[in-house]
């Protein structure tokens, strides 16, 4: 056998290895992993939400007026330099930056901005935020000034307009059908715009030599090989053939960091929001607020985080807001009930009071004598959440509730969620620059659909009038103090009604290998997110990474 290896295998390896230089990787290019793909399709179209464009089209090739920095929680002026609300929040003026050029050398102006926003009106499929529901008119008054008129006052509309990826009028106006456009040769204002080569296995994106931030970006080009699984990504990170990635890696300290602590880094940043145990509030038992609170009290979140989440994250705050979102916490928060704290006594007390008696010391029964039994549905293969659900199921047994974990394929899971065909489920909640989106998704009664009808949001089907009132008030005001007060009141409502059960803080996965490149952000130097998945704020990082 040894003979066979030596006469057949070794020469073969040498033969191949001599044809291809594996150890000398291209050190001029930053190798990035963002999406699981097995072969690339050449698509750089940023507007169509269903168009599967290559990273970093949205943010790196096409830029918005303002970029939200999720760490400082500020809106950073980008293609615009300033904005102003006028006429009792019915008019929004943007001053557009001068000296910006498209990568083909043409001048960028307010007319491109107005054109892009009007494109949404012309093709509703591009209007992902339904902006023309509240917009009246968008015009460029001069090369540097865009005026946005509102049909009705809707202040959160700022996020949609400021975050719009601006496309060049001189290209898009010549298209027959922008909905079927795949934009193979992009012309943008971003730092990387030149497609240097493109084949099914690897492609490269070069620097925009006309970029408006002089001297940036530092890195000559970005390289994108295909990666199909997280295992492949991990091996490539370890072998130095991948510099920057946004992948989930289990036991990362042992598997990745310990192998080379000098260069192997990760930063699983708290996004400010939480992963939820959603409870269907149309369920005859779960509609009782006290039952939901009892379930929450019974969950040992420390254990969930340890067993389910590799101890990467931390137990959720009762408002679900933490990390960068903690600045929104109401000053009265400590006087309120803290039902995300682990407290079996309190859980038992609430269940006793709700009329669910013990039977045989191992289960509780309702007034009809049937046991308290639920299903927790989770997406199969999302192993961290599946494990978390299993821990929760164990925890609930101690207070006499039988919760069975059932896993479904993503499509089947989402269909059940949307139609309200579930009792409990581990899932995510809506988020945004302010907690407004989150509270709206949790408590806005106009989003509540009857069971069996498809609800794209508010799967747990909870709504109350007080919240509707506050949310509508929020939409009318641009006054910071008023905004704060509304968010405080929404938190109080959330704590009082427990429309859903926050489990643990949500993180964004991010790793880097600083062998060839340096100046990646970290918890100590948090100038931007390390995660490539944080669109478009990864651009802060992209502009600051340097070659060693």
């Amino acid at each position: 056998m040894k003979k066979i290896i030596s006469i057949f295998f070794i020469p073969l390896v040498y033969f191949f290895a001599s044809c291809e230089n594996k150890t000398n990787r291209d050190q001029e290019g930053l190798i990035v992993y963002q999406e699981n793909q097995i072969s690339w399709t050449r698509n750089f179209e940023p507007l169509n939400p269903v168009s599967i464009c290559r990273w970093p089209t949205r943010g790196g090739i096409y830029e918005p007026l303002y970029i939200y920095n999720p760490i400082s929680t500020e809106w950073v002026p980008w293609l615009a330099t300033n904005y102003e609300w006028k006429n009792d929040n019915r008019k929004l003026l943007f001053s557009i930056r001068t000296g910006v050029k498209w990568s083909d050398g043409r001048e960028f102006s307010a007319y491109d901005v107005a054109y892009t926003l009007n494109l949404w009106k012309q093709f509703p499929a591009l209007d992902t935020r339904n902006a023309w529901d509240y917009l009246q008119n968008v015009v460029a008054i001069s090369d540097t000034l865009v005026e946005v008129d509102f049909k009705r006052v809707y202040v959160p509309g700022f996020e949609a307009i400021a975050g719009a990826y601006i496309v060049p009028k001189h290209i898009w106006s010549k298209l027959d059908d922008p909905l079927k456009f795949d934009n193979p040769d992009p012309v943008g204002t971003g730092p990387y715009t030149e497609v240097l080569r493109f084949n099914s296995q690897v492609w490269e994106l070069g620097k925009n030599h006309n970029y408006w931030q002089k001297g940036k970006p530092h890195v000559e080009k970005l390289i994108f090989p295909t990666f199909s699984t997280n295992e492949q990504t991990t091996l490539a990170l370890l072998s130095g053939n991948l510099d920057w990635a946004g992948a989930f890696i289990p036991a990362i300290q042992r598997i990745f960091v310990d192998k080379n602590p000098e260069h192997h880094h990760y930063w699983f940043r708290n996004t400010g929001y939480s992963t939820f145990l959603h409870t269907n509030t149309k369920d005859p038992i779960l509609q009782d607020t006290n039952v939901r609170k009892a379930i929450s009290y019974a969950i040992n979140r420390e254990q969930v985080v340890k067993v389910g989440m590799y101890n990467y994250t931390s137990p959720a705050h009762v408002t679900s807001l933490a990390g960068p979102m903690a600045k929104w916490h109401s000053p009265k928060i400590n006087e309120k009930e803290n039902w995300t704290a682990f407290n079996l006594e309190k859980a038992n007390e609430l269940l006793d009071d709700a009329g669910y008696k013990w039977k045989n010391k191992n289960e509780r029964i309702d007034s009809n004598g049937s046991p308290l039994k639920f299903n927790i549905i989770v997406v199969s293969g999302w192993s961290d959440w599946v494990r978390s659900a299993q821990v929760i199921s164990q925890n609930l047994k101690k207070v006499g509730i039988q919760a069975t974990v059932r896993t479904y394929d993503f499509g089947a899971w989402i269909a059940r969620m949307q139609q309200g065909n579930f009792q409990m489920a581990v899932g995510w909640a809506d988020k945004g620059a302010t907690p407004y989106n989150f509270f709206k998704s949790m408590m806005f009664s106009e989003y509540v659909k009857p069971l069996g009808e498809t609800a794209d949001i508010n799967w747990h089907r909870f709504g109350i009038k007080e919240a509707d009132f506050l949310i509508k008030e929020f939409e009318q005001t641009s006054d910071e103090n008023k905004i704060k007060n509304i968010i405080y009141k929404l938190q109080h409502l959330f704590i009082e009604h427990a429309p859903g059960i926050p489990l643990f803080a949500e993180l964004s996965w991010a790793e880097c290998n600083s062998k060839y490149f340096t100046n990646f952000p970290s918890a100590e130097n948090p100038y931007g997110p390390l995660s490539v998945n944080e669109q478009p704020s990864f651009i802060f990082t992209l502009l600051n990474i340097k070659k060693r």
Partner: protein, 328 residues
């Protein structure tokens, strides 16, 4: 000769009917899956899209609420025109282009390793059946059955880790290297072979045993036949008996098996493709199923169906050549 043509065309007619039935099933089955594509894609944005945008998404996917008969008619019409629609998971690429890109690699990798495994396995089967008490016959069948019993993904991961990562002999993924440019040039072709080596090795390794054992078993029963004894008695050279008399007859079941295995090849290389990051049909199919990409799913199932039927038809012709009884 006329009878042979009649036989071939009769088989062809049979496969035509089978193809039509398969295409109809292909239309129905994806529609029985839970969930609708626009909602699923919407959900993938995890709250970054506003719910109001979902109707707009339906519109741009061209998802209609037409009656199912109308959809079926336009589906059949599309197939006849070679138009398989636009993919949802790779919007706005046409399905035919995406499948074309994946199919080439699957046929290359899985196809060539299957042919290699078939040839080596069958030859080994002939040899060990001929020398039934030899060393090879005592070692090979149990050894290969042993390796064949390993879960494939585990074996592939181990091979990838040892030869790809630890020893750094072979690349750990993809169909060719970062530095080469696709086309008819030597560095590219060598790179393709280099990258295909490890995945092909694992595929050959796990399927070798099956071909070898089935060949060995039929070969042994053939060797017990009277006409072999007679041929021996006549003094025909033993090499001729082994190949022309015994192996030629014993190979028939293996040939039929080959036609069947082609279908598994097109869909079954999924694990290989996942582990070695190799582009191909299997991974496409997985993505299509995960994102409810009906057009892509249908396209892939259709190519698999047509390939299996086509391969079986070719096997029928090959059997016609090997087995004179079918010509009668």
């Amino acid at each position: 000769m006329n009878k042979s043509i009649l036989y071939i065309s009769r088989r062809f007619g049979f496969y035509l009917i089978a193809a039509f039935a398969a295409l109809t099933l292909n239309f129905i089955i994806p529609r029985l899956m839970p969930g609708d594509p626009a909602s699923i894609i919407f959900a993938r944005f995890k709250g970054k899209l506003k719910p109001e945008a979902i109707d707009a998404m339906r519109e741009s996917f061209g998802l209609t609420n037409d009656p199912i008969i109308t959809q079926y008619a336009s589906y059949l019409k599309g197939i006849l025109q070679g138009d398989l629609g636009i993919s949802i998971a790779y919007f706005p690429e046409p399905v035919s282009e995406i499948i074309g890109g994946g199919l080439i690699w699957t046929i290359f990798l899985a196809g060539s390793s299957m042919v290699i495994a078939f040839l080596i396995g069958t030859t080994l089967g002939v040899i060990i059946a001929w020398n039934r008490t030899g060393k090879l016959d005592t070692i090979l069948p149990p050894a290969l059955a042993f390796f064949g019993a390993f879960p494939y993904f585990w074996l592939a991961m181990v091979v990838l880790y040892i030869f790809g990562f630890s020893m750094n002999w072979f690349p750990i993924g993809r169909a060719f290297g970062n530095e080469v440019n696709p086309g008819l040039n030597t560095p590219y072709l060598l790179s393709v072979l280099y990258h295909a080596f490890l995945p092909a090795l694992t595929l050959v390794f796990v399927s070798l045993g099956g071909w070898m054992l089935s060949m060995r078993n039929t070969m042994i029963s053939t060797l017990g036949s009277d006409y072999i004894t007679f041929a021996n008695a006549k003094g025909i050279p033993s090499r001729l008996i082994m190949l022309r008399y015994a192996a030629r007859n014993a190979i028939l079941p293996n040939l039929t098996g080959f036609g069947m295995a082609l279908g598994f090849m097109l869909s079954g290389a999924l694990l290989t493709e996942m582990i070695f990051s190799y582009p191909g049909q299997g991974f496409l199919l997985l993505q299509a199923v995960q994102s409810q990409d009906y057009p892509l799913m249908q396209g892939i199932f259709m190519t698999i169906t047509l390939a299996v039927l086509g391969a079986n038809w070719l096997v029928d012709i090959a059997i016609l050549f090997f087995d004179p009884r079918t010509r009668r």
